[in-house]
Symmetry: C2
Subunit: 336 residues, 2 copies
DNA sequence: GTGAAAGCGCTAACAG
DNA sequence: CTGTTAGCGCTTTCAC
């Protein structure tokens, strides 16, 4: 910057002013400065700038697994929104580990991230106000965020999502409906299971415990769960799958068992993704409003950074059912 | 830090020394300092630290599209490796736009990223040494990286990958083989097409221009390309698809046309991903060694950051063919 | 083995 | 409208 000042024949303060655009600098001087900047290939040192201003232009984004298409898209949307607004994003991957997540949060703090958007990996009680400090760094939680968490939370209505899918399955006449779902300790998983149960209750359907399979939100867990389901003496005629990764596992198990969808078994799941429509038949799915979730999370974190001191807000977004071809009527066992 | 020093009853220099572990500080003092840090919830300000030391612990990672499973996995691997080694990653998404990419590179520089790993969005000539400055920031390119680029490059052997897939298709007896590929200006796309052509040449197969469809590496482009292919008077019996996104497009078009794989048409593609094995039949694919690519890129960038001044290195990794069930013998038109 | 002090590159308040 | 100057929080010689 000193060099630029010298090259442009002005003081460094003038350079700083021209660069931030704030102060009143005469157009010709400004042009001269900009030319010098260009010529020298100067780039403002945002560490020094941030240090001085007491704030960085960094936003943290911590997800549990980028590889999950839901998070992939969330990362994409948040990154794009942040970029457009002049923020850079520091990415952290907690790998579903609350301890790692806490470490990442500390890291974000150490980098002076102005705020971070977190997709919590843990259970609601892990986020009690006394459990961790974020210092001046603001926090908003997305996705696996219980209302009890002491900061802004943005979620899809998970119960409604499950009900949407379950009702659709029930409407097709199924009664032996299984569910492959996530770890009950986790807020999203609990909600999704609750929605499934509600849908069953409403039509007076008893949920057979043998048809409920909870595991981690992972391909392998779902694959195993599905195999177990298929091995049952009285297997289900439909499966409600609680997320995209588990859906992959279920589809793998089905493919391995040479079962066809929806002739042998109906499938509906939460989470849409590009591949869902390339399947034959295309998969019926509940779509999460990822773009809206990302936008809301970003809006919230920026508001908090700018000093919004109101009490934690909860934003609940609606899911939508995307009916494609993986749910059909119950196959009749034999000609009557 | 001043507070911590006061709380621990030492000077700030001692605190700094204890924290970095470098200098010799008596164990009891160190413990006292650490206790104070803990008690006050202190976290080192890495902006100030970076400013002073003249280097940050940030590594930039610029990809053209996180949503592409190849990049998703690359981001995952790089993030994990970086984290483990004490680096944080600043994520940039160029959205296939070289201008945006240049801007992101400038941004990384402004954040004092010690180095950045770039998946180039542009053509080789866009990276001539005079075209951009990275200042003291180191650069390594992965994936779409031509040997002519003036920095370390790590790539899969794209020609070999295409040959692997093409040979497999040819070995199944196909002669009317189409390819849905990327923009020829882009290095990867050109290489992949060259590999396809080589495989054809080797067996003296003429490549019908009508069967070559180049578009952007996007679902929609591939979908349209595949539709056009199917509408041909003399449609192909097999399609070689140059990347995963295009594969989705092709599969969508096939599903829409109610064509079944591999009975009506054989398919092989570059890029493996979790869904490939959940398909029926599972998709035959050439797998990129993403983990090795990420590891190599990370190793290179760290070496450069640490001062390795040797001339640009090129690392070429081998692809592997994953034979599943989407390539079959040519269907016989009618009983002879 | 520990403390005092200089200064990293920048911003902002203030004087000119 | 432009230049001078005092730190932001930390690291790192250099005395002690």
């Amino acid at each position: 910057m000193k060099d630029v000042a010298k090259a442009a024949g002005v003081s460094i303060a003038t350079v700083s002013a021209s660069l931030s655009g704030a102060a009143f600098v005469s157009p010709e001087l400004k042009a001269r400065v900009l030319a010098a900047v260009e010529r020298l290939g100067y780039e403002r040192n945002s560490m020094a700038s941030g240090l001085k201003r007491g704030r960085s232009s960094l936003i943290g984004l911590v997800v549990s697994d980028v590889t999950n298409p839901f998070f992939t898209e969330l990362v994409d949307e948040v990154q794009t929104a942040a970029s457009a607004a002049g923020w850079s994003v520091l990415l952290g991957i907690s790998n579903h580990d609350p301890a790692r997540e806490a470490e990442l949060l500390r890291l974000m703090r150490s980098h002076q991230a102005a705020g971070t958007i977190l997709c919590p990996a843990g259970a609601p009680e892990d986020y009690a106000p006394d459990r961790f400090t974020t210092g001046r760094m603001k926090l908003v939680a997305v996705d696996n965020a219980a209302p009890s968490m002491p900061f802004d939370t943005v979620v899809m209505d998970n119960r409604a999502a499950s009900r949407l899918a379950s009702d659709h399955i029930i409407a097709a006449g199924h009664r032996r409906i299984a569910t492959v779902t996530g770890p009950p300790r986790q807020y999203v998983a609990a909600e999704r299971f609750a929605g499934f149960r509600e849908a069953a209750d409403r039509v007076g359907l008893a949920v057979d415990p043998a048809l409920v399979r909870a595991g981690q939100f992972r391909i392998e867990d779902a694959e195993a769960a599905c195999e177990a389901l298929l091995a049952l003496a009285d297997p289900p005629t439909a499966i409600f799958v609680a997320n995209n990764l588990m859906l992959i596992g279920v589809m793998r198990a089905l493919a391995a068992a040479r079962l066809s969808v929806p002739d042998d078994l109906s499938i509906a799941s939460i989470d849409d993704f590009p591949w869902a429509s390339a399947f034959r038949p295309a998969l019926t799915v509940v779509r999460q409003p990822i773009d809206a979730m990302a936008a809301a999370a970003f809006e919230r974190i920026v508001a908090r950074i700018e000093g919004d001191g109101s009490s934690p807000e909860r934003i609940v977004l609606a899911p939508t059912l995307v009916v494609r071809g993986s749910v059909a009527a119950v196959p009749v066992p034999a000609p009557a």
